[in-house]
Symmetry: C2
Subunit: 697 residues, 2 copies
């Protein structure tokens, strides 16, 4: 199809063109790296597969934003981000449908099937802007990523050529390994990973060298097999990395179809248990489709057994669905996609052996699809890894701290998912420990209770990381240092290891109503939020903090990138008024940190220029806090965000948000606080940078 | 550029490719008509010109929506609208910047220039979702329209070919006239308008016949001159249509530029009065531009006089701006656009002579640009005319009632604008009646007061129509009929002649949170809102209304289009479950009406199927009312929209919203109410339809 050939040396090789691989490619492209992205399929997905995007994933996609490629009159503007609007998120939202509410249907004493309960898809207590599950087929999701990657590549100053989709396909991975150090091959010190790929049609092979390789090639990962060893076919169960867990004999069919029905909730997500015919989950989908997850069981000699996987056809699936839907009519029309799966949960024993070839997504964890989690967690695996690789590859991050934190954080989430999914999918299939003794019987009440209890986790907002060098919680090493008491001030509700909670503020430079959480797009920088409270009390502390930042001893000046190394292709804030040169300068000082100042005192009572430098130089990141928030009605318009976050107006606080939107550290707005932050950053950032190899950003 | 030639016969000729002409073309294309759209310019606008889009205009653009041209798996879906998402509105919002707040700067006793006041761009009491002014140059606005027109043309089954932009250009209007009836030319009865156009380069002429011609060709309208008579050059002041009003000697320059400045509010809309150097208005713009409106005056012999229009250069404008900005620094960089204008207000004595050739936009009203109103009112002129032409051209509307209502409604708005603009622009230029006697002095307090008082009007939400056959207010003929007392029930806050106020509801069919106002996209249909209140009280009335609608005597059955005539290319709601055939049938019954049922009783307590037919057949337009609205906190989640609209939960009400989003009639949910609606619709709709000529929709 194309005669563009792979280069010999890349920053990162990404194997697999599904959502996880695409997220890796999008993030690493944004950070300015040259990626070799291969997929063994000749084309992106065209229908079906994963279809549910959860609230936290939408929040993340919004934060990645969208590159505007429109020409700028008078030439490019320095200090103005090319990111505008929602990009991937907006595209998906305009193409998908939304589920706000879930209905539970069960047999009752009087009816064969009745709506017995309802639950919000994302309950009210989860504080998230997009409080719904977004549904669209995986191909639309992949195309939204591909379009955005392509748009960003046009902004990269020296991107290697790729085929139009950004992915070399069809290419299969033949082998990959990390070469041992060898003085005769100086490239090994920086690019030790060797990958052999083969074109699916021409069988032409290429041998590639890269710094890292990301294995996003699914449950039957070739990458995993290459590094784990073992035989073809049993590589999952033997070798250096094994898949741990178990499968059941429970078989489900899944199909996307148009139907005619008098079932009233056909446009809702429904969890339907029949009395003795098994269970169904339906989900509304784009283009008037309905997704059916159908339990495939039959009665054999008075016993209910699963239909064998290799005999489960689309027709059988449709027949089972009609049976479970009784007494409602259900006629099937156009069928867009059909597949069969077996309930099971497995997790890789290790995500990486050497922190050079790193697995993620389905290559590390598999489970049943009903909870709508897999694609989300897989994408977020790569989102979580990318910014760490960015810091490491630019010489600023300590690889020995940052890279292990990937598995530490993401494995915790995957384990929690598997635990939930195991119980949930068995209970839904009528195999819960306390299920009724009737064949196929289901403990509906227990199932509904479990659904509701896990909604914080399934929204994605409940993916919580534990203490490590990046999350300054009790147990983290920084919490044993001299400034431990300045961390996690009493009453503050923002917690390290959890996402920054949303809130609206007024951007003082232009009076716009904005969402604080989305103000800095994913650009590889740490977002230092200074909650300044009441300026009459906090001004001395603000001045102290500013003087500290300006001093050579501050983290801002100790953890510097080499000149010309940018954090990403997304520019920092336009800093000083419309003084474009100044904007460029402030950003160039250190693009890996950015400052946001949120003031509790109404902004009519002070000017941006009253703030100490450098805070006032981040002019477009100074905010007033007077917008009503229905979650804290008692605060009215009197600093509601300070109130919601539990920040003392007389004391203020400093909240460090990592490049992935997670809170990393919360400290007092005091000398101990900012000295504590110095220790925090010193835990995973280098002080004296080695020259950055092949620095382009 | 293209060898596509105009046809000989069209439904409508639109002259002028600015925002008014584009709105006409977009709406009429949506309604399924073949348009000949010409513009004398070779290309769309590339910079500058009109740049402010007001809240009500954004609301309208959102309601026009966006056509999705993505292929649908399994083929097109009957009963599902091809409109998805925001279309024109979203495109503009993603490209523009927002003004939420205005700052006033004046000389004070201690400072040469100080911020003396602030005001919201759209005050809190205006209930509108997009509560800001959106700013982007006119070319971006035109391109958003052109893209959407092109997308919709692909949905038209037998669209005439046009050049890629949808507009034939450069073409000048040579002549246009309405031919008198002539039995030897049967086309004259349906297509009496004759237009002669000439290609700007080749000078090739075409003579076109159409049903209507819309003159959207600006202040120096050729269309107006053709029908008004008089000499070239003085056609504005003589002939059958004259421009009435006056000009001043006040000259302003306007430029779009990038600047460096230490003026703190450079990203706000600012109204700046210097002590003796004149006034400036600045507006932030896309791509880091700033628009400057600069009063061009000088001191001559101790007296302040305007600079002559023909001597006003960009350099003079920049020099004046720097002077007025003192003591702040202001350095100009790239200049994107520059122009000069003279303050004045004029309005056409008539908008049309025969209701066949009809003027709108700048061809009917001109004024100064500072209030940011002109483009908005011009676009809305055509938005307001298009749905009336749709009804008339499809044989359903009475031309003698609907077409005169265009001028009745829109002239009222234009007159109000001119009155405001005359006072506002003179006051801003220091020529107000009570202005200080100092040369160039300005009564700042009076000016700020006027700005604030007119914010409801300038947001566009205060464009209120008076009583006529379409607006059932006291004075309308329907209000002298037997059911007059059923109109405008006491306490109801929705008023005929005003836009439907926004509010969020829950769509029962899928549980989605939606904006009621935006649920039915502009599709030419009347939206009959049944506020059903408490079903325990209102069910008998609902059943009575449903029986009435089903009877041959109802407006729904009396005002029918011919078979196969659709209201627009935008389909009606998917009606009965996912039963696609039924959906098609219900829509085909009468696409010029659609029913939305809003129930006060929580939807957990009833099913859509409990509602009488036909209300339950409009399944995707049945809503629950339990979403908190901060404007009626006292209602909590207990039917807040009923509460906000002042609708009695025990009685309910019926609210007719016209295809342009204006409330047409509010009646009791009672027999007198629906019989009153029968009279209302009979006032402007035909009962027995003549065969529709060349019916395609």
């Amino acid at each position: 199809m194309t005669d563009i050939q792979p280069q010999k040396v890349y920053d990162v090789v990404v194997v697999g063109g599904g959502p996880a691989g695409l997220m890796a490619s999008l993030c690493l492209t944004t950070f300015g790296f040259n990626i070799l992205h291969i997929d063994e399929r000749a084309h992106p997905t065209t229908a079906g597969r994963a279809d549910g995007i959860q609230p936290r994933t939408i929040e993340v996609l919004r934060n990645i934003g969208g590159v505007s490629t429109a020409p700028v009159p008078g030439g490019p503007i320095v200090g103005q981000s090319p990111i505008s609007g929602g990009g991937v998120a907006k595209k998906m939202i305009s193409q998908g449908v939304r589920v706000y509410e879930v209905a539970f249907w069960d047999p009752t004493s009087t009816q064969k099937l009745a709506r017995t309960s309802r639950a919000p898809s994302c309950p009210e207590f989860v504080d998230v802007v997009d409080n719904y599950t977004l549904l669209l087929h995986q191909g639309l999701i992949e195309h939204a990523f591909l379009d955005e990657i392509e748009a960003r590549r046009t902004v990269l100053p020296d991107a290697f050529p790729t085929p139009p989709s950004g992915i070399f396909r069809p290419y299969t991975l033949q082998n990959c390994r990390t070469l041992p150090a060898d003085a005769s091959d100086p490239l090994r010190s920086t690019h030790p990973v060797e990958t052999v790929i083969e074109h699916g049609d021409t069988k032409v092979k290429h041998t590639i060298r890269s710094r890292y390789l990301l294995g996003c090639d699914g449950a039957k990962s070739h990458v995993r097999r290459c590094i784990a060893g073992g035989q073809v076919g049993d590589g999952e169960w033997q070798g250096l990395i094994t898949m741990q867990g178990e499968a059941t004999d429970i078989i489900w069919g899944v199909l996307d179809a148009r139907v005619k029905t008098n079932f009233p909730d056909i446009k809702y997500k429904c969890l339907i248990h029949s009395k003795s015919e098994g269970s169904i989950m339906i989900i509304p989908r784009e283009a008037n489709l309905v997704r059916f997850y159908v339990q495939l069981q039959k009665t054999e000699g008075g016993k209910v057994v699963s239909i064998a996987r290799d005999t489960a056809t689309q027709d059988i699936c449709i027949a089972r669905a009609k049976k479970i839907f009784e007494p409602f009519d259900l006629e099937f029309g156009y069928v867009d996609w059909f597949s069969v799966y077996q309930i099971g949960q497995r997790i890789a024993s290790q995500y990486t052996l050497d922190h050079r070839i790193i697995l993620g997504g389905d290559a590390t964890h598999t489970h049943s699809p009903q909870a709508g989690q897999g694609m989300n967690i897989s994408m977020l695996d790569m989102y979580s890894l990318a910014w760490k690789l960015n810091l490491v590859m630019k010489g600023l991050g300590k690889p020995e701290v940052l890279l292990p934190s990937y598995e530490h954080e993401r494995r915790g989430i995957a384990e929690e998912l598997l635990k939930f999914d195991g119980a949930y999918s068995r209970l839904f299939s009528g195999r819960g420990p306390d299920a009724s003794q009737l064949p196929g019987g289901v403990d509906a009440e227990k199932f509904i209770q479990m659904f509701k209890q896990n909604a914080f986790f399934t929204s994605g907002c409940g993916a919580i990381y534990t203490a490590n060098d990046l999350n300054a919680l009790p147990g983290a090493s920084v919490m044993t240092g001299p400034y431990a008491r300045a961390f996690n001030p009493q009453g503050v509700k923002l917690l390290a290891g959890q996402r920054l909670i949303p809130g609206r503020v007024t951007r003082v430079a232009d009076g716009n109503t904005v969402r604080l959480q989305q103000e800095v797009k994913m650009n590889g920088a740490f977002r230092i939020h200074i909650f300044a409270g009441d300026l009459r009390s906090t001004m001395p502390a603000l001045e102290g903090f500013a003087a500290f930042i300006n001093s050579p001893a501050s983290f801002f000046n100790r953890h510097r990138s080499s000149a010309g190394v940018r954090s990403s292709i997304v520019d920092g804030p336009a800093a000083v008024m419309n003084h474009e040169d100044d904007a460029k300068n402030i950003h160039d000082i250190n693009p890996f940190f950015t400052f946001l100042t949120i003031v509790g005192t109404h902004w009519y009572e002070w000017e941006i220029n009253d703030l100490p430098s450098p805070l006032r130089l981040y002019r477009s990141q100074v905010y007033g806090d007077a917008l009503f928030d229905r979650r804290v009605p008692e605060a009215g318009t009197n600093a509601p965000l300070h109130h919601k976050f539990g920040i003392d107006m007389q004391k203020g606080a400093i909240v460090v948000v990592r490049p992935d939107g997670y809170v990393g550290a919360v400290v007092d707005l005091s000398k101990d606080g900012w000295l504590g932050l110095n220790d925090y950053f010193a835990g995973f950032l280098n002080e004296k940078l080695a020259p950055v190899p092949k620095a382009r950003f």
